[in-house]
């Protein structure tokens, strides 16, 4: 990797050693990276708790076979979605991978619509046609989860193109796992985003594994944030993905740059998934229990509590747990009671309606 990129005077995108010091090595609870009003901290905590509790129940509903197919839990990584989405405005867009329940829940899709989608019900956010991996809500700029590793990265880049073309000031946040940075379309997209000044933030949730393949067995450059500056003049930064405030601060800066200068950023958020890759993965062959415990000790919710003991009182936490348990329980009840899509729905949403279509007789 070109650590010494040729840097003509105009490029502000060269790697900055000080700003990208490794945080993954520091096991201690750090000072808060940014000071926010209490209500904002509480909301962040609440969102992380909602995701955690919602997904714990997803796992249970999966065992009961109410949810089927592929189901990828986000537990452990909550700080990444919560910290980064908090840096956005309503008009902005987000793109996710199949590991998308968390982002959906905090960006305009209710627990009810999300759970109903996982149940394959007509009341789901994608009318039951997308399922766990494809949670969409156009009106909230929720551009969906994509099942192809890296496949959505050009789409996000295209939405950045639209924002640049029409000067709308919108910013696009494109999440991906760390395995996606080895895909061709990732590199194709970053090259275009830099070439054409597209306001896209590529946020890589480096949870250290792509299924069972550790990142160091897949990427020749271990410091993923180093992969973009030399090659594409896209600023690469690393943040602590177990620290919601660090994610927030890092994303906020990137959003500002995108909005004012139209420059893309690549963020590597180092985090960890506590559960298996998907519901069918017991995660026993490629990592140790000790490793999981080490990361659980850095849990983003615990950290926030420890940083602000005065804010997160026992009473507040107790009330919040109750409120969220009810929201999740209600979402399950709602999903359970909702109907499956009508069989006529099989033929809708394939094309625009035109004479002779849709219908079983269409060729």
């Amino acid at each position: 990797m070109a650590k010494k990129a040729k840097t003509p005077a105009d490029t502000s995108d060269a790697p900055k050693a000080a700003a990208t010091e490794s945080v993954a090595r520091n096991p201690h609870v750090p000072e808060p990276k940014v000071i926010l009003p209490d209500d904002k901290l509480i909301e962040m905590y609440r969102q992380m708790l909602l995701i955690r509790r919602f997904e714990e129940r997803c796992a249970q509903q999966y065992q009961l076979q109410k949810i089927k197919g592929f189901c990828h839990l986000y537990i452990g990584q909550e700080a990444v979605a919560v910290g980064s989405v908090a840096a956005l405005e309503p008009k902005d867009y987000i793109f996710q991978t199949y590991r998308d329940h968390g982002h959906a829940l905090i960006r305009g899709i209710s627990a009810r619509e999300t759970m109903a989608e996982l149940f394959g019900k007509a009341t789901g956010c994608s009318k039951g046609k997308g399922g766990s991996m494809h949670l969409f809500k156009a009106s909230a700029g929720m551009m969906g989860g994509n099942g192809i590793v890296g496949g959505h990265v050009p789409l996000a880049t295209g939405v950045g193109w639209k924002a640049m073309y029409n000067k709308t000031g919108e910013v696009v946040l494109c999440y991906m796992g760390e395995a996606a940075v080895n895909q061709g379309v990732f590199h194709e997209s970053l090259n275009m985003a830099s070439l054409w000044n597209l306001p896209v933030i590529y946020i890589c949730e480096n949870n250290l594994f792509g299924m069972g393949t550790a990142v160091h067995r897949a990427s020749a450059e271990k410091d993923l944030y180093m992969r973009t500056a030399g090659a594409y003049r896209i600023r690469g930064v690393r943040c602590d993905g177990m620290d919601v405030l660090d994610v927030y601060k890092t994303t906020k800066e990137a959003v500002e740059r995108a909005r004012t200068k139209g420059r893309p950023t690549f963020i590597e958020a180092v985090c960890y998934r506590y559960r298996g890759h998907s519901m069918s993965d017991p995660a026993t062959t490629y990592r140790t229990k000790d490793e999981v415990s080490i990361w659980q000790a850095k849990d983003p919710m615990v950290r926030l509590q420890e940083q602000f003991p005065g804010v997160f009182t026992e009473e507040l936490l107790g009330d919040m747990e109750k409120e969220i348990r009810e929201i999740v329980q209600d979402s399950i009840r709602f999903a359970e009671e909702s109907p499956f899509p009508d069989e006529s729905e099989l033929w809708t949403d394939v094309h625009v309606d035109y004479p002779g279509y849709p219908g079983p007789k269409a060729n």
């Binding site: 969409f136 295209g158 639209k162 394939v350």
Partner: protein
Amino acid sequence: MVEMSFREALNKALAEEMERDSQVFLMGEEVGQYHGAYKVSQGLLERFGDLRVVDAPITEAGFVGLGIGAAHVGMRPVIEVMTFNFAILALDQIVNNAAKLRSMSGGQFEVPIVIRGPAGAGGALACQHSQSLEQQYVHIPGIKVVMPSTPDTAYRLLKSAIRDPDPVIFIESEKLYNMRGPVTEDPENLWPIGKADVTRPGSDVTIVTWSRMLTAVALPAAETLASEDGIDCEVIDALSLSPLDLHTILESVKKTNRCVIVEEGWPKVSVGSWIAAEIGLKAFDHLDAPIERINQKDVPLPYAFNLEEIALPRPADVVEAVRRVCYAK
């Protein structure tokens, strides 16, 4: 009607649609300063500027995907692939994103993109640059596939494709770009996607074809058969392969009771094999002879001029097939 080349007809359609809708832009390799690898975009950069006529790096999956992304938030990109041989690199974007976004979002997104460029044999371009790959796209629900055959249908279909709310794969032919012919002067006289054209009405046998095969093979064969055998062929130009105007094809077969399908591409799992199956299923009782199919030989197209010539469908192949289904000679 005004006379122009196939290339000029495409250029005119592009320019008019870009004029009509500010969200239409053209992106692809060499579309701007070079004026297009096949000069389809001649003069457009000068007229519309480099935000709307965009020279892309050689990054097919990237810029096709970018176009799909822009389309599903309301833009109308026309993405030029230098040839459809290179669109293979973007197939994931087309199949997994363009064709799926409407469905997997439960109808929340439309993808009004046009992906266009030439395909088929261009003349001694060898195997990697000569392929007819329309069946790849016809197979996929959620995208539309059209293949114009004349300057007029090129003009009218491209305008329909750009205005269509679904992804449209618009496949041209290298060998047709110089073809001249009359083109409608009415800018709103669009050719509807999903409609075939009975190019040559006839009563004895139905020939179904599309794209370059119409004028290069099917129509010359029909003329030979009329003059030498007194066989009156009805030639149908499919124009839209997905959706396919099966109705027009079936009505014709019910009238003539015989059918020959002429397709530039390979025979296995092809558009022609699908059409033959549909006719077999839906008009079996009307058939007086087995359906015949004329295809490119099932080999990578060789460079050698003589081999290329015998590998591709020729009028004589069609003449013989028609004689067989008519039990003539």
